[in-house]
Amino acid sequence: MIRFRNLAFGLLLPLVAVVVFAVLLAFSLVRMIEIENAMRVEAEENMLWVLHQSEVAARRLAETAALIDLGEADTDDLALRFDILKGRVAMLNDGPQRRFVEEIGYDDELEQIAASLNAVAPIIAGFSPGDGVRLRAALEPVPRLFGRAANKAMIADWNDLGGRLETHRAQLRQITVFLVGIMVAGGILAAILGGALRQSRQRNMMLRRSQDFSTLLISSSGEGILAVDRVGLCTLWNKAMVGLIGKSAEQVVGRPLIEIAGFFDLAPLRTGVARALDGDTWQLALQPLFGEKDAEPRYVDLRFFPMRNEGEVIGAILFLHDATDRHAAQQREAEDRDRLEDLVAERTRDLDDALRRERSAADLYRNFAAMVSHQFRTPLAVADSALQRLIRRGARAEPGEIVERADRARNAIAGLTRLVDSTLDAARLDAGQLGAQRVRCALEEIVRTVCTRRREAAPERAIHVRRASQDSDVVFCDPAHVEQILENLLSNAHKYAPPETPVSIYLHDDVQNVFCDVHNTGNPIPEAERERIFDRNYRGTNSMGTAGTGIGLFMARTLARMQGGEVILQPGREGVTFRMILPRFDAVPA
């Protein structure tokens, strides 16, 4: 309904008004042209004057005839006056004048006048005194006839004029009505035009407002917004873009996007713009945007939209959202996750270690039990058998034999004591009760003392000691601990080397340390076990069948480290070499 009313007001009414306007205008024009044509007053209309002149000419002819009688005029004058009158009559008989005369019904009279003039022509041609009376009598009715014709002409003229004026008035009234109609139609048109103008102004204003609002939104947006036209030239560049790319709107508007910054020449960007220009919406996340050289890149999320005008794509619009913070947060999250994973792995490792230690503790007790059952039993058996023999011999026993048996028993007991000591040492070490009393020592002396003791315990085993130079064995150490380390290393060498082979000790040094290499010819220790043999209670594969606690090397390394030294297994395939490293006395800061 409203739509129909709009159509009626918007189109039909102005159309009707225009048609009415045009028709009325055309009618007015026709009327006015009619009036204009009627206004052309022709000379023929002036018949009153012509007839009056004719009457005057007739009277003057008669007058001249009279004057001749009086002797005041001549025949030439008479001929002139006659010609003038004839000229008038000739004129009245000509074209338009003749038609008018016929119209007013005076053509017979005109014929009569012409006949009279023809009748008097001979009198005038051969005028003699005395003809005047005759001539005047002959001309007597002519002026009267002209006068009456003039009357009639006047009446006809006025009637005609009256009729014409009446017609003009009617036509003017019509024109007035038409003009009023034209004014009404014009008024309607003007009103419609005014309404349309006002409406258009209002629409323009609304459009401008929404445009201003859009401009405000775009310019104050924190997101970078840019637009390109159909061929990829930049048409819009807001303030946030200036911050992101570092170029002002004046520098970029009207230029191809790929010339503005290398960023826009990247394949994903080019694809996005192309897709938006094809009418698709597209987006990219966390695209790195490199600014100044060496500066950290920013990360932006991009959204591409086509711009349409009545369905047709006229360009593309891009939104760039600075997602650097989000990217950083993601990075941090990933790092935290990695760290957490490391931590979990570490903890797992610790737990594994604890578990292994727990197991090794269980092994320790088991080994300890085995060791006790084996190691302790042997010296006890040795002492017991020596003492049994002494008892059996009784008084028969010779003093030398008694001493020998007693010594064997004592030695066995001494070994047992050492075994107990070392076990206790390990326990003390675990309890943190073992400290180092470091003093200046000559290493070779300690070596010799230990070697002497070893030779007594195992006289069949040869031990060779040699040193690189005479004066380089002064170390800073706890001599008791160093003795213990050497004891352990030598006892190991004795245990694992074939019985007839010697054990060699080699002392040498460098600027920092003094080295003591203990070498035996036993089977090399497999690569996989080289570090593990220093673990507590670990027993290598080649220790099978050999008595031991798996504590010796662990103790040796721990004690060496307590003094700033170290015990390592030297690489090499020739036998087995353990090296004890101790700091030189003069290399230790006071």
Binding site: V41, L80, D83, K86, G87, M91, D94, P96
Partner: protein, 146 residues
């Protein structure tokens, strides 16, 4: 030359008198003298006749120039004492003639002759107006230059 011709033809009938601001203040011209002026033919309709007619005569400006006429106005008088004022400009703006013949025949005195001022009415729309129609003086006898 015109003066001489007029003097020589003293016996002939004078048909046009010219007076006023001209050489010698007054001249009387007979038919022969007027024939000596360049002849012009003009085809036009008139308001007192039907159809168009061919008029022969001379240009008024030719006559006025011969007589060295100086003025703004020419007062034309007919035999029946009909008098009109004609602006001098008419003769220079339009080819106004004094006709002595119509359709090849001389104009008789008893029918608009012997001289008739004729405007080129058909050639100029402005001349189709009653304010020009009254300047067509027939039975012309006298011109006074003012």
């Amino acid at each position: 030359m015109l003066m001489g011709a007029a003097a020589q033809a003293g016996m002939d009938k004078v048909i046009l008198q010219v007076t006023g601001e001209i050489t010698g203040s007054a001249v009387e011209l007979d038919r022969q003298t007027l024939d000596a002026l360049p002849q012009v033919t003009l085809e036009t309709s008139t308001v007192v006749t039907d159809g168009t007619h061919s008029f022969t005569g001379f240009l008024v400006r030719d006559l006025l120039e011969r007589l060295d006429a100086k003025g703004e106005l020419v007062i034309a008088t007919a035999l029946n004492d009909y008098v009109v004022e004609i602006p001098m400009a008419d003769f220079y703006d339009f080819e106004v003639i004094v006709a002595y013949g119509m359709d090849g025949e001389p104009l008789p005195r008893n029918d608009k002759g012997p001289l008739w001022i004729v405007y080129p009415r058909d050639d100029y729309e402005v001349l189709q107006d009653i304010r020009y129609d009254y300047r067509w003086v027939w039975q012309l006898s006298h011109l006074e230059v003012q």
